[in-house]
Symmetry: C2
Subunit: 369 residues, 2 copies
């Protein structure tokens, strides 16, 4: 498969190496379409592979070295919710977080794509109340909770979902808190040119080592901008969250607080039955993971100073989950026993309507399967 | 792109040409993985393409000539629910259908993957009652209706879904009817070796022109076998449903009755908001379409004697829908005005949680976009 181990770039002595620089010398064939991404995940049924998922991925260290890569990792990818930890940096760094006396739980919720379970929405409600705002100040829109049990409970009681149920309500509470603290208008905080989003853009440029002033961008599901960033640079930023040795002191401190909150509250990051929560719980805090819409995934291995970034080309969640587990396993950072215990993270069952297993979703051979 | 127009095979005089034979002379590179499938569908967001869907497709006539193809159309594909019209042939051909005095509505429901709306489930309930069975004779399992309004209504009333709500309940009613009529045990009718499924296997072999005795197979979501069949052969079978000139009289008659029921009742085939229903309604009966799980799609153009078959490699429904519309348009069988009126079939909006359009799902350039 297209599985290269490129050690490279930036040299061992260059601690300011950027993932972007690190493989900038790579020649790319001039294809009319995008270069072929390798098959990362297979879906079987009975006697054959029924569907496949192609994608791109890389493992990068905090010096910006690409330790392993699959497919084109220089093309821009919308990271969507996978970079909520980066988007939370200004909340801490501006002092907004401390000024409002918030706790690690709120910080974890700011980094989350939560299920909309009671313990997520109550936390968001209390937070918004504490900063003196109401649900009407949210500009993220509403949707039924991702958790089906909670959604069904609401339907049974004739309840209408609010912005608190939006899986991004913690992140948006962080945006509102930062705007208030900085004396900026809260209205329009989701817009590309609002100071809240511009501040995040600057932080993202610094964390990824990218000039994003001409990067393609789009509007995310929750109405904020999502910026196209090379996958290698996203992984590099994740490595730096795990090992912020090159960051200025105040940023290193903010990143460390965010990382600890992310690690301490895996349930707040997603919730019941969610891959991200289950993966972090199984790993006992040795790895932090986060998914984004359209099948983006990241992982941070703080002890090893590694970052992982992944994009499944077709945007399918099942493939993101299985591939991310396989990539984490490929780092050998976690003990084999853990993978034996948590086998369902690497191989998802495909069942029929009678609940019988009729196939599996599994990493493809080239992905360390 | 990998877009070949291969006219071929079987010769104009050979009306018994099979799609399999028709391109059996094509050389396939000996790759370790599957050959690359072209990008058929793009998903945009703001300034760039966010996700892509690769797949394979072909347009075949009732002589087995491949008029257009994208990617490898000889590799086996599980057709899933896309071939329900073929699976309904024994219901008519055995005389079971007439013996129980069933109507075109039941026949359409046998070909459907319905939404589980009241008008679908009532029809299935009445059918099962008419043949003297109960919901307990179904072996397809249950799931909440595909239609969210109906599902929410059931949740509000604390109702538990039954096999009638299973999107395959019409097809299974057909299986049960055939078994009863032939004096076969109804118990176990979903099993590979049950006469009902063996009869369908034989019909499928004849319709597709394939020896399927060594074909890979798996268990479908509704517990029946799904058989791996080359995409070209699936399209050929669809062309023959549209133009059964080479079929034995009794089969041609059965196929014609099925085609008419399929055409007459687009709402029963799927339901509210469903692509298959909307496409057929927009085309005013000039094309019949049917999707299957894991993004298989077929279309029949009776007047032109053409069949279309499509498999999106990653199994994503949005891509199946848009690609199937683009393939139908590529045949030029339908007037341009129709496509202008039904533009949403070719280009699906991607919206954020505030309902604003932030991107589109559209056919890729190579697919006649």
């Amino acid at each position: 498969m297209s599985h290269d181990h490129s050690s490279c770039c930036g040299g061992h002595g260059d601690h300011h190496g950027h993932a972007h620089d690190s493989s900038g010398t790579e020649a790319h064939a001039d294809l009319s379409g995008p270069p072929e991404a390798p098959i990362l995940v297979e879906v079987t049924r009975g006697g054959m592979v029924e569907s496949v998922h192609r994608g791109r991925a890389c493992i990068v260290d905090s010096d910006g070295r690409v330790l392993a890569q699959w497919g084109d990792i220089q093309a821009p990818v919308y990271p969507r919710s996978a970079v909520k930890a980066i988007q939370a940096i200004p909340l801490v760094e501006t002092g907004a977080f401390d000024a409002y006396g918030l706790s690690d739980q709120e910080l974890a919720l700011a980094c989350s794509s939560h299920n909309g379970e009671i313990r997520h929405t109550r936390l968001a409600e209390a937070w918004i109340k504490r900063i003196g705002l109401t649900v009407n100040d949210y500009e993220c829109g509403a949707h039924l909770p991702t958790d089906p049990d909670t959604a069904h409970e609401m339907i049974r009681h004739g309840e209408t979902p609010t912005a608190f149920h939006n899986n991004c309500s913690g992140k948006h509470a962080g945006f509102l808190t930062t705007a208030l603290h900085k004396g900026e208008p809260t209205k329009g905080y989701v817009r590309f040119d609002h100071p809240v989003q511009q501040r995040i853009l600057g932080v993202t440029e610094q964390m990824t080592g990218q000039d994003l002033s001409h990067a393609p961008w789009g509007v995310d599901g929750c109405a904020i901008p999502t910026i196209g960033i090379p996958l290698a640079a996203i992984a590099y930023a994740m490595a730096r969250i795990g090992d912020p040795k090159d960051l200025p002191d105040s940023r290193a401190e903010a990143v460390t607080r965010i990382r600890r909150a992310w690690r301490a509250h895996p349930y707040l990051i997603a919730g019941k039955g969610a891959f991200d929560t289950a993966m972090m719980q199984a790993a006992g805090g040795q790895v932090l993971v986060k998914g984004g819409a359209e099948a983006v995934g990241v992982a941070v291995l703080p002890k090893q100073g590694l970052g992982i970034a992944l994009k499944i080309d077709d945007g399918t969640p099942r493939a993101r989950e299985v591939a991310l587990a396989a990539l984490i396993r490929a780092t050998k950072a976690l003990p084999d026993e853990m993978w034996t215990r948590a086998e369902q993270l690497l191989t998802q069952r495909v069942t029929n309507r009678n609940g019988l297993e009729v196939g599996v979703v599994r990493a493809a051979e080239g992905l360390g399967a």
